[in-house]
C-alpha cells in the first residue's frame, strides 16, 4: 500500500505502472484505477487554475487509514493513492487511486470505495482561480459526510 502526495504534475499511468512493477507477476488478476483530472470549467465558470491545500501529516494518515479500511473489506492485494497538492492547471491530474486484487469485483468495489472515502474524509481543500481574476474556495458536494467526517 502506498500514499504519495505530489507538488509537481502527477503522471498517473506511469505511477501505477511503476508501482505494479513491484508486485509479483501472475499473482493478481485485476487492477481497477481511477484518475481525477482538473477541468477547465466548474459551476458555469471558466477556471484557469486551482490550488490544493492539505494538512501535512493528517492528510497522509487519513489516506493510509482509508487504504487499511479497504483492505479489511475486500481481498485487496495492493493499493496506491496519489494526490496533487499546490497549484494545478486544467488538464492536469489531481488524484489517482489504484487497487490490485485477484478478483475483478473486489478491485472495482475497493477502488470506488477509496475514491469516495478520499473525497469525503481526506483533508484537501481546493481554491479556484477564475478567468475574471476572482479566487474562490470550492464548496463541498452536498452528499452527507460519513460519521468519521463529522468532526464538529
Amino acid at each position: 500500500m502506498a500514499v504519495v502526495l505530489h507538488s509537481e504534475p502527477l503522471e498517473p499511468f506511469n505511477l501505477v505502472n511503476e508501482h505494479e512493477g513491484g508486485l509479483s507477476p501472475g499473482s493478481f488478476g485485476a487492477c481497477a484505477l481511477f484518475v481525477g483530472t482538473m477541468r477547465d470549467f466548474n459551476d458555469g465558470d471558466a477556471v484557469t487554475a486551482m490550488t490544493l491545500e492539505h494538512y501535512p501529516g493528517m492528510t497522509e494518515r487519513e489516506l493510509a487509514l482509508i487504504e487499511d479500511e479497504a483492505r479489511t473489506r475486500w481481498p485487496v492485494q495492493d493499493s496506491l493513492i496519489g494526490h496533487r497538492v499546490g497549484r494545478v492547471e486544467p488538464g492536469q491530474p489531481i488524484v489517482v487511486v489504484a487497487v490490485w486484487s485477484a478478483h475483478r469485483q473486489a478491485a472495482f468495489d475497493a477502488c470506488r470505495f477509496l475514491m469516495e472515502a478520499l473525497k469525503e474524509r481526506a483533508t484537501f481543500w481546493k481554491q479556484e482561480e477564475l478567468q475574471d481574476g476572482r479566487r474562490r474556495w470550492v464548496s463541498p458536494s452536498p452528499q452527507p459526510l460519513s460519521p468519521e467526517g463529522r468532526g464538529a
Binding site: F124, P140, L145, A152
Partner: protein, 91 residues
Amino acid sequence: MFKLCSETDRDPHAMSITVRYFASLREQLGASEASVSADGIRCVADVWQRAQPGRDLPPRVLAAVNHAHASLEDTVTDGDEVAFFPPVTGG
C-alpha cells in the same frame, strides 16, 4: 454555540497546545497557526474558545486532534495539536 466541557483539575504547569487553521477558515481568521496554554483545557471546544475568544465556531467547521478527526467534546491534553477547518473538497 458551545460551552466549556468542564473546569480543569489538571497540572497547572501544562505545556501549550498548537492550534492550526486551514483553507477558508485560515483566510477568515487571518492566521494559520497559534499556540494556547493547555491550562484548564479539557476538550476541543475549549481550545477554540481560548484561541478565538468571543468568536463562535463557524457552522460546518470540522476539527482534528493530533491528525485524527475529532468532535468538539473530544479530549485535548498537553502538547496536542488541534486543527479547525472547513469541509474537505479533495479528489
